[in-house]
């Protein structure tokens, strides 16, 4: 009698031990999927590290060879001359001046347009103008370059009576237009996020609508607006193709009506035929540009963090 009973008990135990899921492979496949997704998760980090390592490894040797001061503060770039000189101060200053000019011209109308979109326009107008800004953001940079080449360059030449209209001023104008969409959309978001109570309180205290916008809404959205400006700076510093088409591309020390070469265009214009030290120096130029962009990113991060506090 004991024997069948025992087998019966065993059977019960067996049923209890059976896993909940039917498929015994599912635990393994679950682990595999987890591992694969983890790899995907860190691909972005890996890309950042990869880019940094490749740029540093290929950019540092030429700086060492040329000398940090001669490279960063040298005013003459003549990479193909018989006695080559590799000073990138003209590129750095052109990038800085070009960006500053673009920000000075592009940011005020950008912020005012953001005010229009978020505070003044009715829903339909806002949708139309907002759509226009979205379209502007999507237009490829070479198209801006092409129109700049055909419209702005000849106009600058004839208005200021110059021999050549492809200069820093034309580049500034094109860049100013190109940073508008990012300035507008980020500022608009910041302005729209200002609590309604602030504005209502201001209106209730007797301020006019304009005074409320300029004395309450804009100061309240300060960090977001600042972030939009920093974003615009990043776009202007990093723009290559459009600038290449309108700036004349000569490594002069920058002056408003002289042909100039930016950090970005220095890399783009000589890379295809460069070799030896010239090529390595171009990687160093890219490294300097990368450092600039990283500094701007850091600034953006700080601005946004301060906003959250």
């Amino acid at each position: 009698m004991r024997f069948p009973l025992q087998s019966n008990t065993l059977a019960v135990i067996h049923i209890q031990k059976k896993p909940v899921r039917e498929n015994p492979l599912s635990d393994i496949s679950e682990a595999i999927v987890h591992a694969l997704l983890a790899i995907c998760g860190f691909v972005a980090v890996a890309f950042v590290i990869l880019i940094t390592v490749f740029l540093v490894v290929s950019g540092v040797p030429a700086i060492r060879e040329i000398g940090v001061f001669d490279f960063l503060l040298g005013t003459r770039w003549a990479s193909t001359a018989s006695e080559p000189a590799y000073g990138i101060l003209p590129f750095i200053l052109s990038s800085v001046y070009g960006t500053a000019g673009a920000v000075a011209i592009g940011v005020p109308p950008g912020i005012l347009c953001a005010v229009f979109l978020s505070k003044i326009a009715d829903r339909r107008t806002s949708a139309i103008v907002g759509g226009a800004v979205g379209l502007m953001a999507g237009i490829p940079s070479v198209v801006y370059g092409l129109v700049g080449m055909i419209v702005i360059v000849p106009a600058v030449r004839s208005i200021f009576g110059l021999a050549d209209g492809a200069n820093l001023f034309s580049a500034i104008l094109v860049l100013a237009v190109m940073i508008l969409p990012s300035v507008i959309s980020v500022s608009e978001t910041a302005l729209a996020a200002v609590p309604k109570e602030y504005e209502e309180a201001s209106l209730a205290l007797g301020a006019t609508k304009t005074e409320t916008i300029f004395r309450v809404s804009i100061p309240a959205a300060k960090s977001g607006i600042l972030a939009s400006v920093v974003l615009g700076v990043g776009r202007a510093v990093g723009e290559a193709m459009a600038v290449m088409m309108v700036s004349g591309n000569v490594p002069n020390m920058p002056s408003l009506f002289k042909s100039v070469r930016f950090l970005t265009t220095a890399v783009a214009s000589e890379m295809s035929y460069s070799s030896g030290l010239q090529r390595r120096a171009l990687f160093s130029v890219a490294l300097v540009l990368f450092v600039f962009i990283m500094a701007i990113n850091l600034m953006l991060d700080l601005v946004i963090k301060r906003d959250k506090k």
Binding site: S26, S29, F54, C113, F116, V143, G238, V267, S272
Partner: protein, 287 residues
């Protein structure tokens, strides 16, 4: 009544500021309208069937942009095939698996950094990594991989945003019915996040279509017609529409063709913008 309380100075100041605001909004619309008119006026009549259906030939003295159209299409396709699994996978991992907040922060910071890097640097690094280090030579493949690096943050961000809007009750319901975690993600979470993934794809396509600096040294400037197999093999170099436009305008001074390509690009941008809006609207209603 209330108007009398406000002094003239305040009124005039307010009016001037208000007009400046309206003026700048008008200025921006005018700028865009001018840009579009200029491109259409110079480009529209140069778009002929011959242009978009033939290859450039010195022998016949004709210019055609069929290879560039095809190359743009190939690059969009290859880039999306590479970047979609990576980006969606990363977003799923960050949103569904990771419990450590620092991990999420590090990856988000990395994605932000990636989206701030200018395209010319991507071009250079793509050349160093894919063209030279991985010895893919100047090819559509190298260009696509470079663009995959560039568009990754877009896909991660949009997917993550829509994953966050999937209600937890969906997940609990699925898990409660006995499904495994991956099964739950595959059948419940991802389908509810389609809107974000599709929007991400459209935005990525927009960036790919407009990109030129990153492709100059990675995908090359050739204008030959490539089959799909050549496009996928190392050394299959070719220029997209933007790069070709740059070459026509800057190197050859052929502005007719350049403006024709610009008009096509403008049309593509408009389509992409509209479809992004439509997709977001339609998919939200579907949910």
């Amino acid at each position: 009544m209330t108007d009398d309380i406000i002094s003239y100075r305040r009124k005039i100041k307010g009016a001037i500021l208000m007009w400046l605001v309206r003026l700048s909004a008008g200025l921006i619309c005018l700028l865009l309208a001018g840009l579009i008119l200029c491109i259409l006026k110079k480009g529209l009549f140069n778009i002929t069937w011959e242009l978009i259906s033939s290859t450039p030939s010195l022998l016949k003295g004709t210019t055609g942009i069929l290879p560039n159209l095809l190359n743009t299409f190939y690059i969009i396709l290859i880039t999306l095939v590479v970047v979609l699994p990576l980006g969606v996978g990363a977003a799923v991992y960050l949103n569904e698996y990771v419990k450590n907040k620092t991990c999420v922060k590090i990856t988000e910071l990395a994605a932000e950094t990636l989206s701030g890097i200018p395209s010319i640097i991507y071009g250079l690094v793509g050349m160093l990594i894919f063209v030279q280090f991985c010895s893919l030579q100047t090819s559509l493949l190298a260009g696509s991989l470079t663009l995959a690096m560039m568009t990754l943050p877009t896909i991660i961000r949009t997917t993550q945003e829509s994953l966050k809007t999937v209600p937890d009750s969906y997940r609990e319901g699925s898990l409660g019915l006995g499904s495994g975690k991956w099964h739950m993600i595959r059948t419940v979470v991802l389908p509810s996040a389609t809107d974000g993934i599709v929007t991400g794809c459209i935005l990525a396509v927009g960036r790919i279509v407009g990109e030129s600096a990153a492709l100059l040294f990675t995908a090359g400037m050739a204008n030959e017609l490539l089959g799909i197999r050549e496009a996928l093999s190392p050394g299959g170099a070719g220029s997209t529409l933007t790069v070709a436009m740059y070459m026509y305008a800057k190197e050859r001074g052929d502005f007719d063709t350049a403006f024709a390509i610009a008009a096509i690009l403008l049309f593509l941008t408009l389509t992409i913008n509209l479809s992004a809006k439509l997709a977001a609207g339609l998919l939200k209603k579907g949910n």
